[in-house]
Amino acid sequence: MSMTPPVEILPGTLELLVMKAVASVESMHGFDILRWLRDATDEALIVEEGSLYPALHRMERRGWLDSEWGVSERGKRAKYYRLTGAGRQELSRQETGWLRYVDVVGRVLAAGSEG
């Protein structure tokens, strides 16, 4: 386990992470998504919990997510999100984009340290 201090989430990456989370199972409600993110990153990522929900709705409007009301494992009414076909395409697009970005930035940084 890494013991590095947690990092603030980069602007624009929340959607990618959320889609990755929702893609992992059939459907998830907001709280589960946050928990999944925390588990997947070993609590290395700080997400302001409140900002998750507007992001979820935004993604739903864009057609990346679909939602329906259900009952959570704790017996509460909860809104469940699911990745749509369009969401799946968007996820792979953003994933590729992000990896390339990291690669490019990494190379620049590596070149800088050599010089």
Binding site: G50, Y53, P54, H57, R77, K79
Partner: protein, 887 residues
């Protein structure tokens, strides 16, 4: 959905088509609370803190709850709306697809319904296009709303002309007008200098007339006051004339034109499409300051004015009345009671056809209602057949709203198909109307199916779809579930049957109204064409001759030309008589003047009377077939210089000399100077202005004593009139190669033209009534067939119990005739109330003509009886064993 709700009214049921989702704030709050509560529960479980503390901590971690909520609610609202829209769109597409599929499954029903609808929509759209083009569109002039038409009124007379001196006074004094121009009817001129001499049409106008219409000349100028001086020879050409005779020469201004062998200078060309009410190849100025144009008693101008911006019709009229009062004081002998009355130019143009068109429009609206009733009937019958299907759908959970929606979609899909077919029909209809319209409708040539016509068609279709679809949809959506399922589709509620009965009653009533309208027009048309015109049209040929004064300087020249033509024509096989006159009956307006019987009336006072005046050659009465009733006809002795004589007609005698022999009486006639003449004969009255107008009082002068240069020729032939028509131009050319002859026609065609408008109206209304009758009969037949089918079991039982077939037939026929009878009664009442609107179109028939009402009732009754017969026979043929076993 929620368990209890208020009872559904009609409107509520319609609006309950969409189910309401839970409110947006609830959803957002629920989602946020879910997060915070779950977090708090976890905190309690894992950290062991108190619930209150856990909640506070959960909210802190969540962040700004209020901001997040606001943000989400806004987005959610937008999202919901968008999703709702796409859901509705999807559902609509589904519904339409479903409806079309359902229609395809019953092609017979769909075909009949669409055809019926197309008929109603097409007729309405076609007639609307005509109504719009003729009545609603503004006249094709800039700011046409400011154009007015001016005519005189005096005593009880309306629509009289204006004298040139009066016109000049009005033009000088009135400040309400930007322009005030005068015009006379068109005249014919002989155009030479091009290929063959030919007759062209020119309109005489004053200065300001062309300007009043608001279009500037394309080239050159319009007329000025200098052009009104004697001897001014200026012409302004129409665009078409400029194109055809001068090839659109841009330097045409300044060139000369030989009209009636006199040189006229072209001063301007008007733009394409410009017309001053009526066709003209060119316009020429009227010399207002010479000859009879100086006489206030000679009325021969009609005025067109352009009001100044902001001036009302009433304001302008008030000013004209003041001027009229002044003129009356200054010239009491000529201007007593005369005033100039203006009306909107548009009213003048479309006024004569307004009633006729409005009635046609009303008639097609009635046809459309009948169409709606018929299609509603079809749908009701179909709805009854589908009762089981609908009941099953309801049982499976389809809401009533959904079913109403489904059925309404079906009717709208039908209306949509009807609309497409109807627009096609309308295009054909407008073309047909333009082809058969006899040229009595102004601006008919500009009429087409435009965007407005299309919008009208779509609007009518939507409305129609709603009207005929709503009843069946509501009836079907209120099914008695268990009964419908149990009865297996055969049973039906009596409600639908009663509604269908009512629809048929309505159809019969509407048809009755239409048939009465058509019947009245047909009867009055028959009356009109059976009117004796006062002369014999068969075998008569007419033509017009305008002998140019430049080549035919004196009366003698004209008379010798006439004589030469007469001689040649009389040598033509079959020709028995030839006559010349100043104006033929039924061929346009005539001239009239004041007269007086010496010792009894006095010219220039209120005792004088007005009558038509004509010049007639010796052979005229014989050639026309106008009978000589008393005295003698004109002879060679009645030449210029001989004592002036006059022949009057029967209406003249009946009014002026009711109880005495007019032959030998003296007559004073106002021809600028009073002329004293002797009455030498009496001829029969002639319908001068149309078969519907009574023969006017007329006085005929011998052509030799009252020679005119613009003449009409009438030739009586026992042979083929067409051969005379063909030979006439050549005969004239042999006498004078420079002399053209115009408007050669048989008198039959002239007569036909004079009754063209009533014939057109009777034809159209007759057509609409026939459509209405057919639809009504189909409606009666449909309802009775349905009744028989529904009650076949009852009929079977009756027959099994010993009812005779005639009794069964009687049962069905009674029901059918009951409906028809109710329709007849309602229709008769409605027709009595409505036909008075068409009184102005009728001739010789009252709007409540008993024969027409009785005839239409009989026709409708008999056709209804026929429509009852087939279903009744089917009922009588019911085999009780089969129908009973079917149960």
């Amino acid at each position: 959905m929620n368990g209890s709700r208020p009872p559904d009214g009609l409107v509520r049921r319609l609006f309950r088509i969409f189910e309401r989702p839970p409110s947006v704030p609830d959803a957002v709050e629920l989602e946020i609370r879910h997060h915070i509560e779950t977090r708090a529960e976890l905190l309690v479980e894992t950290e062991g803190v108190s619930e209150d503390e856990a909640l506070r901590e959960a909210e802190r971690r969540f962040g700004d709850v209020a901001r997040v909520r606001r943000e989400m609610e806004g987005g959610e609202h937008r999202h919901r709306r968008a999703r709702e829209r796409s859901r509705v769109a999807r559902q609509t597409v589904d519904d339409v697809r479903f409806a079309l599929r359902a229609l395809r499954k019953s092609p017979g029903f769909a075909g009949v319904a669409v055809l019926t609808l197309a008929l109603g929509i097409g007729l309405n759209t076609a007639i609307f296009s005509v109504v719009k083009g003729v009545l609603l569109d503004p006249l094709p002039y800039p700011d046409a709303g400011r154009l007015v038409w001016g005519e005189s009124e005096f005593g009880a007379s309306r629509g009289a002309a204006v004298s040139p001196p009066d016109y000049l006074d009005y033009r000088e004094s009135a400040t309400s007008f930007e322009y005030l121009g005068g015009r006379r009817g068109g005249g014919s001129y002989t155009l030479t200098g091009f290929d063959a001499p030919e007759i062209v049409r020119g309109q005489s106008v004053t200065a300001e007339l062309l300007d009043a219409f608001g279009r500037v000349p394309l080239l050159g100028r319009s007329f000025t006051r200098d052009d009104e001086l004697e001897g001014a020879r200026a012409v302004v050409l129409s665009h078409a004339f400029w194109q055809s005779r001068f090839g659109g020469d841009p330097d045409v201004v300044g060139r000369t034109l030989s009209l009636d062998d006199e040189p006229w200078e072209v001063v301007g060309v008007m733009p394409a499409g410009f017309a001053t009410l009526g066709e003209a190849d060119f316009w020429r100025p009227i010399p207002l300051h010479t000859g009879s144009n100086l006489v206030r008693r000679f009325h021969n101008l009609r005025l067109v004015g352009r009001l100044r911006p902001g001036v009302t019709l009433e304001g302008a009229q008030a000013e004209l009345d003041l001027i009229a009062a002044r003129l009356e004081r200054e010239y009491p002998e000529s201007n007593a009671t005369w005033r100039l009355v203006i009306q909107p130019l548009r009213e003048f143009v479309v006024g004569p056809v307004r009633t006729g068109l409005e009635i046609l429009w009303g008639a097609v609206a009635l046809v459309l209602l009948i169409v709606c009733a018929n299609v509603a009937n079809l749908l009701l019958a179909r709805g009854t057949g589908r009762r089981t299907e609908i009941a099953v759908r309801t049982a499976l959970g389809a809401s009533r709203g959904r079913i109403v929606r489904l059925l309404l979609t079906e009717s709208l899909a039908l209306a949509g198909l009807g609309c497409v077919a109807g627009v096609g029909l309308a295009v054909l209809g407008v073309r047909l109307l333009r082809a058969i319209e006899p040229g009595t409708l102004p601006r008919i040539e500009q009429i087409g199916l435009d965007g407005w016509g299309l919008a009208f068609a779509i609007g009518v279709s939507l409305l129609t779809g709603l009207v005929f679809g709503l009843l069946p949809a509501l009836a079907a959506a209120r099914p008695d579930l268990t009964r419908a399922l149990k009865a297996g589709g055969r049973g039906g509620s009596g409600v639908s049957g009663r509604v269908r009965g009512a629809l048929v009653v309505g159809e019969v009533a509407l048809s009755f109204v239409l048939l009465i309208g058509a019947g009245l027009l047909l009867r009055s048309f028959a009356r009109l064409v059976s009117v004796d015109p006062g002369f014999r049209t068969e075998g008569a040929v007419t033509a017009s001759l305008s002998l140019p004064a430049a080549r035919f300087e004196g009366e003698a020249d004209v008379l010798s030309f006439d004589e030469a033509l007469e001689t040649r024509l009389e040598a033509f096989p079959g020709v028995s008589a030839v006559g010349f006159t100043s104006q033929l009956p039924l061929a346009g307006p005539g001239n009239d003047t004041y007269m007086a019987v010496p010792g009894r009336h006095q010219l220039g006072t209120e005792t004088q009377f007005n009558a038509q005046i004509r010049s007639a050659s010796r052979g005229f009465f014989e050639a026309m077939g106008i009978p000589l009733l008393r005295g003698r006809a004109f002879t060679e002795a009645d030449r210029a210089g001989a004592p002036p004589v006059v022949i009057v007609n029967r209406p003249f005698v009946e009014t002026i000399f009711p109880d005495e022999d007019p032959v030998g009486r003296r007559l004073l006639i106002d021809l600028g100077e009073p002329l004293e003449t002797e009455v030498i004969g009496v001829v029969g009255g002639v319908h001068e202005f149309g078969l519907g107008d009574p023969p006017p009082m007329t006085a005929y002068f011998p052509l030799a004593q009252a020679t005119v240069w613009n003449q009409q020729v009438v030739i009586r032939t026992s042979g083929d009139p067409a051969s005379v028509v063909a030979a006439l131009p050549e005969l004239v050319g042999r006498i004078d190669p420079l002399q053209p002859v115009g408007s050669v026609a048989t008198y039959e065609s002239l007569l036909g033209r004079s009754v063209a408008r009533p014939r057109f109206q009777a034809l159209l209304l007759g057509l609409f009534a026939a459509v209405a009758l057919t639809l009504a009969v189909v409606g009666i037949y449909g309802v009775l067939s349905y009744l028989v089918a529904r009650r076949s079991r009852e009929v079977g039982i009756r027959i099994a119990l010993g009812a005779t077939r005639p009794r069964v037939i009687g049962l069905i026929v009674r029901r059918g005739l009951g409906l028809a009878g109710a329709g007849l009664a309602i229709g008769a009442l409605a027709a009595l109330g409505l036909t008075r609107f068409m009184e102005s179109l009728l001739y010789g028939v009252t709007a409540t003509d008993g024969w027409t009402f009785a005839g239409v009732a009989a026709l409708l009754g008999l056709t209804s009886l026929a429509a009852c017969y087939l279903p009744a026979r089917r009922a009588a043929g019911v085999d009780p064993t089969t129908t009973l076993r079917q149960e």
